[in-house]
Amino acid sequence: MRGRGKMKQLVVISGKGGTGKTTVAAALAQLIAPIVLADCDVEAPNLHLLLHPEIDKTFSIKVSRKAHIDARLCDGCDACMKRCRFGAIMDSVPRKIDEFKCEGCGVCGLVCSRGAISFFESEGAEVYAGITSYGPLVGARLAVGEEASGKVVTRVRAEAQLISLNTGLPLILVDGSPGTGCPVIASLSGADLALVVTEPSLSGLHDLERILRVAEHFSVRTIVCVNKCDIFPEMSRKIKERCRQEGIEVVAEIPFSTQVVESLHQVKPPLGAVPDEVEIPLKTLAKSLEKHMEMEILSGGN
């Protein structure tokens, strides 16, 4: 889809992991192409595995800071230990920082009378951008041991917005992460619409209820898609009933198919590799986005 409309962002989230966010996102990319894609599941990014971008730009970003104690200056007093609320100062002489626990608050540096503590920016993440057959894709891979995944998500979204402005592709599809915490909030806030991909299981329903409340908390309009809807039909009905009570539209129900798993094994995006009973609801889903995003989304032929 190409046009001069206002930039809009659709975020795909799920609460529970493994419900099929990335698979659905890849199918939407195929149906809506060209579209800007942002893989914001920076702790476990997978969209590139299906869409095979040709990466033309990578850069690292530094997003968090850590304390460092100069062993030559530290006299082993416990001023820093007493004040650190994160248990990040190890009980050794000279003192050492446990980088996994350090939040970079700076309090230890404040109280050290020997000036032994300095701060440095840690590795952060590697951001990558490239072109897929379905449009530009931007994503990031969190460095091992990095904490600030929310900030990395924000950076990926900013990069996607730049690409949207530069290419005139108004729709950004954000593949979010599971959960309800920091990276999810960073993917969700300010989005125009959240598509929640859920599955009919006890955990699926439990997590759906939580993620709907998160979306509501951040005032993001929400629609739901039930994936693998036939593995537990009674639960599917329960999920639909719950959504109806909350006034949230269930826009598609996708049956379980081993061919979807097979297409993942072959690292192919779903459309063209899955049977009609899966493809049809995916098309219904894409079609419903026109109404919910209030924009023309599907070009002819789809």
Partner: protein, 288 residues
């Protein structure tokens, strides 16, 4: 003994493994507690139905400003690296969700205008299942970003004379690292899809960085020399358990039915997983 169960990718079956492992241990007479540290989406209780005997709020200290004393000098807001304070000519604003509770603002205030108050960001629940197994559950409040604080609070409740099975959330970031940090062994659950493999690689890097030895469980496993198997072989990762890809298991799991309740054979399999975990943990991950 602390065994964490992590994955990288979501939906690979962490909770399935953690719950069935804990139940197998408990039923064979080993004092066990399941610690649900997937605080963003804690689900283990759906499978264990514990009776909760104790509930406690998880809080973080945030600044409380005495505006009569505050002179809007800006010392606190320029110190705060989290952007949780903003000084304006007429006021001092607090953005509570951004505050990490380090207490630095109170330390730098030259007028002693900052005290602290507790802000609730989650809940801890403790209880027992019908058959007497311990359950600890951390729950992050809706809209709260900082899962790690609730995870740490849940882990503080662990008893060192028991086996603690820690169910971690998906991902490889700070929440998961907080959950895995300090455990004697990490059971990594993966599925043989390219997604599972990709995220397993990230999870392996994480456990190696944390210095926690690990074992792999292949869930939704398929026969043959899959990429996941090849990867484990190449990296010297032991596959301690394989659970086949099965619509029946998916159906049971969706309904909250535990494997060990369906077929006793599973209990033996989970106990041998524990045995390997214990051997590796005892040797600090050196002997394989």
């Amino acid at each position: 003994m602390v065994i964490s169960v992590a994955a990288g990718k979501g939906g690979t079956g962490k909770t399935l493994i953690a719950v069935n492992l804990a139940l197998s241990l408990h039923r064979s007479g080993i004092q066990t507690t399941l610690v649900d540290c997937d605080v963003e989406e804690p689900n283990a209780h759906l499978f264990l139905k514990p009776e909760i005997s104790r509930r406690e709020k998880v809080t973080v200290p945030i600044p409380k400003i005495d505006l009569d004393r505050c002179e809007r000098c800006g010392e606190c807001s320029s110190f705060c690296p989290f952007g949780a304070l903003a000084t304006t000519p007429t006021s001092l604003l607090i953005f509570e969700e951004l505050c990490h509770g380090c207490g630095g603002c109170a330390l730098v205030c030259p007028r002693d205008a900052i005290s602290e108050e507790e802000r609730v960001l989650g809940m801890l629940e403790e209880g027992n299942t019908g058959e007497g197994m311990g359950v600890i559950r951390g729950i992050l409040d809706i809209g709260e970003p900082k899962a790690s604080i609730v995870i740490s609070a849940a882990k503080e409740r662990m008893r060192s004379d028991e086996v603690n099975v820690v169910d971690c959330g998906p991902g490889t970031g700070c929440a998961v690292m907080t959950a895995v940090h300090g455990s004697h062994l990490c059971v990594m659950v993966t599925e043989p899809t390219p997604f599972g493999l990709h995220d397993l690689q990230m999870a392996v890097e994480m456990t190696e960085t944390l210095g926690v030895p690990s074992l792999v469980v292949l869930n939704k496993d398929v026969p043959g020399d899959t990429l996941a198997r090849k990867f484990c072989e190449k990296r010297g990762l032991e596959i301690a358990l394989s659970i086949p890809f099965s619509r029946d298991i998916a159906r049971l799991n969706a309904r909250g039915v535990n494997l060990v309740d369906v077929d006793k054979e599973w209990m033996d399999k989970f106990l041998s997983l524990y045995q390997r975990a214990e051997e590796i943990a005892r040797c600090g991950g050196e002997v394989r």
